[in-house]
């Protein structure tokens, strides 16, 4: 049995809700088939009051071994570094995080907030929120850049707003079943098996991207085209498996006509949601996307795009996702 404790800081519970959508494996499977002992969870735990506090303290003091500490939500530092804007079980949540993270074999940050601060850390960051080991792209966060868990690992970041349930349950099963060594992390401490690919990998609109054909408007307009050129889609710039491991087993935002907002990257929400940036591609000279697919440069991109447009076959200008 691997013991697991799940706490929420400055959270919306979206990752918990996402987690409960899991099927392969499901949240119940973790307990019944994979031997994970979910000792407590804010939405699912049985223990209340004194009993819950006794349980938390037994982990915090190391009297009971803690294999996996899952944290959802930001670590709230305000006001003035006191953490009093998020009191939990009679103390600032940040103090629980310190104690529990240091007792855990593995610490898993679930969702953008826990990874890098997410939406609550958007300017002006009213609560002084940080992620466990990052604030946006800056390493450090709450625990510090050099922090390591008892098993010698940094925080495993499973970002996304929310994280996909299968990313969560599959990593938890890997950790609980002794496959931690198989989890290679990228330079943002994300499991590469999920985050090496791009959101665009597997997107049904990728042929339109190839021939530089844009979606012109939402709704019926998304029957054709790529959302990157006008609608602000960040699919080619964002690392996630959203189009490999589908959402709710059915679809993805880009497949359904919604631009990727880049929610697995530390900068989400991009441009701090400044006027003119929501669902609109930022451009230079009024035509060329300001941010290009990762690794591309403006000169070769522009030449490539011009050639692609000239070479585009007729069908690439037509609706493909028809009734």
């Amino acid at each position: 049995m691997a013991s697991l404790l799940w706490f929420q800081g400055g959270a919306c519970s979206g990752n918990t809700m996402s987690f409960l959508n899991a099927e392969e494996p499901s949240a119940c499977d973790l307990v019944t088939d994979f031997g994970i002992d979910i000792a407590w969870h804010p939405s699912l735990g049985m223990e209340m009051g004194e009993n819950a506090q006794r349980l938390f303290w037994s982990f915090a003091r190391g009297e009971r071994p803690l294999d996996i500490f899952v944290f959802e939500g930001t670590v709230i530092m305000g006001p003035n570094g006191s953490g009093r804007y998020d009191l939990f079980a009679d103390r600032p949540m940040k103090d629980w995080v310190t104690d529990l993270a240091n007792q855990a074999q593995i610490v898993v940050a679930i969702g953008d907030c826990a990874c890098w601060g997410g939406i609550p850390a958007t300017a002006p960051n009213p609560t002084d929120s940080v992620g466990l080991q990052y604030l946006k792209r800056n390493k450090g966060g709450f625990l510090g850049a050099d922090w390591r868990s008892k098993a010698g690992l940094p925080v495993i970041n499973i970002p996304g707003c929310p994280a996909h349930p299968d990313w969560v349950t599959q990593i938890l099963v890997a950790v609980a079943s002794g496959r931690t060594a198989d989890i290679a992390l990228d330079d943002l401490q994300r499991p590469q098996t999920f985050f090496k690919t791009f959101t665009q990998t597997g997107c049904t609109r990728v042929q339109y991207f190839e021939w530089k054909e844009s979606t012109e408007e939402f709704g019926q307009g998304t029957r054709k085209g790529c959302l990157f050129y006008e609608m602000g889609c960040r699919g080619p710039l964002t690392h996630s498996p959203c189009n490999r491991i589908l959402w709710n087993r059915q679809s993805s935002k880009t497949r359904a006509g919604m631009p990727c907002t880049g929610c697995t990257e530390p900068e989400f929400p991009f441009f701090d949601l400044a006027p003119g940036t929501v669902f609109k591609t930022q451009k230079v000279f009024g035509a060329i996307p300001k941010e290009l697919p990762e690794g591309a440069d403006h000169l070769t991109y522009t030449a490539h795009a011009a050639a692609a447009r000239v070479a585009a076959p007729k069908w690439a200008r037509e609706d493909m996702f028809v009734v």
Binding site: A11, N15, L20, C28, M48, E217, G219, N248, M258, L273
Partner: protein, 534 residues
Amino acid sequence: MATDLHISPLGRVEGDLDVRVMVDDGVVTDAWTTAGMFRGFEMILKGKDPQAGLIVTPRICGICGGSHLTKTVYALDTAWRTEVPPNATLIRNIAQACETLQSIPRWFYALFAIDLTNKNYAKAKEYDEAVRRFAPFVGTGYEKGVTLSGKPVEIYAIFGGQWPHSSFMVPGGVMCGPTLSDVTRSIAILEYWKDEWLEKEWLGCSVDRWLENKTWDDVLAWVEENESHYNSDCGFFIRYAMETGLDKFGAGFGNYFATGTFWNPDEYTHPTIEGRNRALITRSGVYQDGQYYEFDQANVREDHTHSFYEGAGALHPFDGRTVPVDPAEGQKQGKYSWAKSPRYEIPGVGMKPLEAGPLARQVVAGKPDPLPWQDYDPLFHNAVTTIGPSVMVRVMARMHEAAKYYKLVRSWLDQVDLHEKFYVKPVEHEEGQGFGATEAARGALADWIKIKDGKIENYQVVTPTAWNIGPRDGNNVNGPMEQAFVGSPIADTTDPVELGHVARSFDSCLVCTVHVYDAKTRKEMSRFVVNGNC
């Protein structure tokens, strides 16, 4: 950032709630609710892109994020004076309803029913059966209910890409252009969920048979009608609730309101604040002291006398001001919560605290004189006027909506015209003000937006949790949940599960820390966390 002590009133959303109650001879005599965690969303929205709310407000609450999106888009539709084609309204209705259909079993099994296995009920005749059905992760009802609760939001994902946290509703319509396959798959998933959970597990009968129940006596007769009803999770819950007394406490004021939701696609092609009530399918309304009143957003107030904000009194959300004070200072002025106290000014009656939620919606559904497309349903008006409101009645109102919303979603899926528009590109006006509201699973949810110079000048979100858990107002009148605690029996003061039942029957959006005090000794008897979600 010292100024970050001054944050928006996000106690109304997902966060921590402290509840203090006075107990006298085993009965709660008074209660105080204190919202305790803040994330500053309204503050983050100021000065941002007018559409920023489409991305930000769903993240206020991961449980009802789709509802946040729904009311945010209508606030923008009314502010920008858009055209919304009928198909877009249908898809929005479907998505909003599917989020609630997801929430019904998930909330019941994962959040509410596990308390029915509390050892305080070990003496109940059916205790072992309650444990068999409702024990966390392994209960027969729990495992099936929680796992199948993911099905309705698969439909959300077909149209919106994912659930939770899509932003696929935009001013002028929706982002998707569905295909025949999308609609067919959605119908198949909906029917699967209806067959496998709603009818097989929960009801033990057809949806149509359940909906024949028009009075509480009908419901009681239904339970006894056959073994299938009697042994369904619904039949069992009603019997167990009555055995353990959940029909005897948690009443609250008995006054309700709903902003309503779901729009007749042909009646709301040009959304306006004034035209909203008429276009609704699930109606808005106010129920106070047995009288029905029309709902008008102009009569909503937020009182902050006992909230950690400067000054006292009540303002309309368009003029909402949020100037926080240090809680240490605020406490000296008698303030005790970060939540404001939403109230409703009934013309000629006064400013009233009103309960929001499924029971409120279903009482409002009994309001006379519906328009032809509007829901009329007398069952819960009958229940509150015969057996009276309680924890049990609040739970049953919520579960009742599963059957009703299933039928609505099915009819909307059948109405989608794949060859027509799903979006009409709007003019993005530099100035405007808008109001959008819907019914999240747990009650009325609304946004007020002011746009100036192409950016957000003011943004106010009033959540059902604020309506229900807000503190006393300027007249020292309790908030609805505070009032609902009053009269609760406490069998075991070291484990006051009854308070958990009351709090969870509201499905407040909070992880509540409840402090129990003895009215005589003022000694804190126990302290526990009420697990909760939005």
